[in-house]
Symmetry: C2
Subunit: 329 residues, 2 copies
């Protein structure tokens, strides 16, 4: 791990980050130019990299421990979508000049907490100073047997479309973080905010879907946009029913209170649930898997020949979506 | 590769970056949450990650193609220091809002040029927008047989200390880029600037040193500071002779002209030469290796019991160094 942060960075690395590398012998205690990753025999490595920018992907002033955990979880979610067992990560921090040790210590404490929860270790990285907002970069590593990973491109016409958990909470949570959703009870606002701040990477679901699902993606850009990625990469049309999309109780209350429209929930990002397809013959296995994991796996639509994503409302009409994509605040 | 850059980023990825991934089947044409890296049987992967920030690690306004190549080369240099065969890289770009397509196109063209020179391919990454200066993050991958990589920690007392190429050119080159070194002929200034802008990762040297060298590091923080890293990690003292440190002709002219002191050259960063140790029994092999590669491999000192780095001047006195470390401009 190299550090060119400009104010005692070698101390910082040793004090706060080196302990995070102790479970990874190939990390060389962060005292090398790089790290060694030896996958188990017959396994492949899966690599993913996501950045977060202060003021773009999270509000300035967010707690550093939460930021650290969110950065890690967002990347682990990508590994989950590929059916990967997560093992390690490398960190790249461009921090505003004058960032104090307390901030870095709290950030490292957040990483320590989540890396023990998810079974990963820090293997290296870089810390530098920037005159702009913080830019947090993480590269996450995992393994799959052989080359058996899930991709976006395997869906066939006639597959069922599923999504895990509930959809739209993170988009509402972002509004709550920003002081919105005043009509909801404080408990609802807090629950939604937590869903935005600390998404749950569906790692156990991902690995269990290898051999069962034909494709998978994590819902980061929004349900409709991410289904669009599957549609495009797999060369199939996708049709989902709006009223089949699973919503949490707080989201239902926000909808009933006129705070939000169903289309906003289906195009909001950052849920980090898994969206996947499987043939109808797999329905029994997928129901059993949901029971085993204690996680709702809802069938929300079907694929067919053609292209594009259609969302049907309760009256069987195609729902107009103002935007399929995703814009950060 | 995910893109949340805010202005047509999916198009950018497809147009400019997807072609860079074509040599890597595990990159899934950048259309997946992550990439698959399958090391050859019995091999391990080596991972390294370095960031560059505009205005900190390079002057604002540097040509995007040069930036791209420098970012890649700096990371490949870390792989070289570990004796690695470079294979792939992932890219994380936080670009100022409003960065235009021309900039991205030129950046991608720089990558295309160097990835064919160094035999690597793009396997994924992330592009985001920032309100601050550009932050460029790269994670580079390579392979070693078994776990046979070079580290900083293997030097024993009585080893010879070597460095490749010439030292101090990049520190002078940075001054030239900033308009300094006016007493030198324009050709010298241009040559030195080029050494700063486009360092040469010593990949062939690195792989050849596996089994021959006891330790290695690339000179990024400065010769003395990087020798300090070896000293600390290996638990040995290091003593080098200032007049044995190889200097280029332009550097000699800068020294003779009083533009710079020898201590500045030995503490300046960014040379990206390899600094390594080997037992005296390896001298013949190392001389032969230098001949084969057409690269000067100079013996500049020895290790011994103890700790710390000492630089001896021509009179056998210990040279006072104002700073061992490294500060970017």
């Amino acid at each position: 791990m190299s550090g060119r942060h400009g104010h005692g960075e070698f101390d910082l690395i040793a004090r706060f980050f080196e302990p995070l590398s102790r479970a990874a012998p190939g990390a060389f205690a962060l005292g090398n130019d790089g790290a060694l990753l030896t996958p188990p025999e017959g396994a492949s490595l899966v690599v993913t990299k996501d950045l977060m920018v202060a003021g773009v992907h999270y509000p300035e002033g967010e707690e550093p421990a939460v930021l650290a955990r969110r950065l890690l979880r967002v990347n682990l979610s990508d590994l989950a979508a590929m059916g990967t067992t997560a093992t390690a990560y490398a960190l790249g921090l461009a921090l505003p000049e004058g960032t104090d040790d307390t901030w870095v210590e709290a950030f490292a404490a957040g990483l320590a907490r989540d890396q023990s929860e998810f079974g990963v270790a820090l293997i290296g990285g870089d810390t530098v100073a920037t005159s702009g907002p913080a830019v947090l970069s993480l590269t996450a590593f995992g393994t799959v047997e052989g080359e058996a990973c899930l991709t976006r491109s395997g869906a066939g016409a006639g597959d069922d479309i599923y999504v895990s958990g509930t959809i739209g909470d993170a988009a509402l949570g972002l509004r709550a973080v920003q002081g919105g959703l005043a009509v909801l009870p404080p408990g609802d606002r807090a629950a939604l905010a937590e869903r935005f701040r600390l998404p749950e990477p569906r790692l156990a679901l991902g690995t269990a879907l290898v051999g069962l699902a034909t494709c998978a993606i994590d819902v980061s850009d929004g349900l409709v946009a991410d289904l669009g990625h599957i549609s495009e990469r797999s060369g199939v049309a996708a049709r989902i029913a709006a009223d089949a999309v699973p919503l949490s109780e707080p989201a239902r209350r926000a909808l009933a209170g006129g705070e939000v429209e169903i289309a906003d929930l289906m195009t909001g990002g950052d849920d980090y649930e898994l969206l996947f397809c499987a043939p109808p013959s797999a329905r029994g296995d997928i129901d059993a898997l949901g029971c085993r994991l204690g996680l709702a796996l809802m069938r929300i639509g079907v694929t067919g020949p053609g292209q594009g994503v259609t969302v049907m409302d309760a009256d069987g009409q195609s729902l107009a979506l103002a935007r399929a994509g995703y814009r950060h605040f």
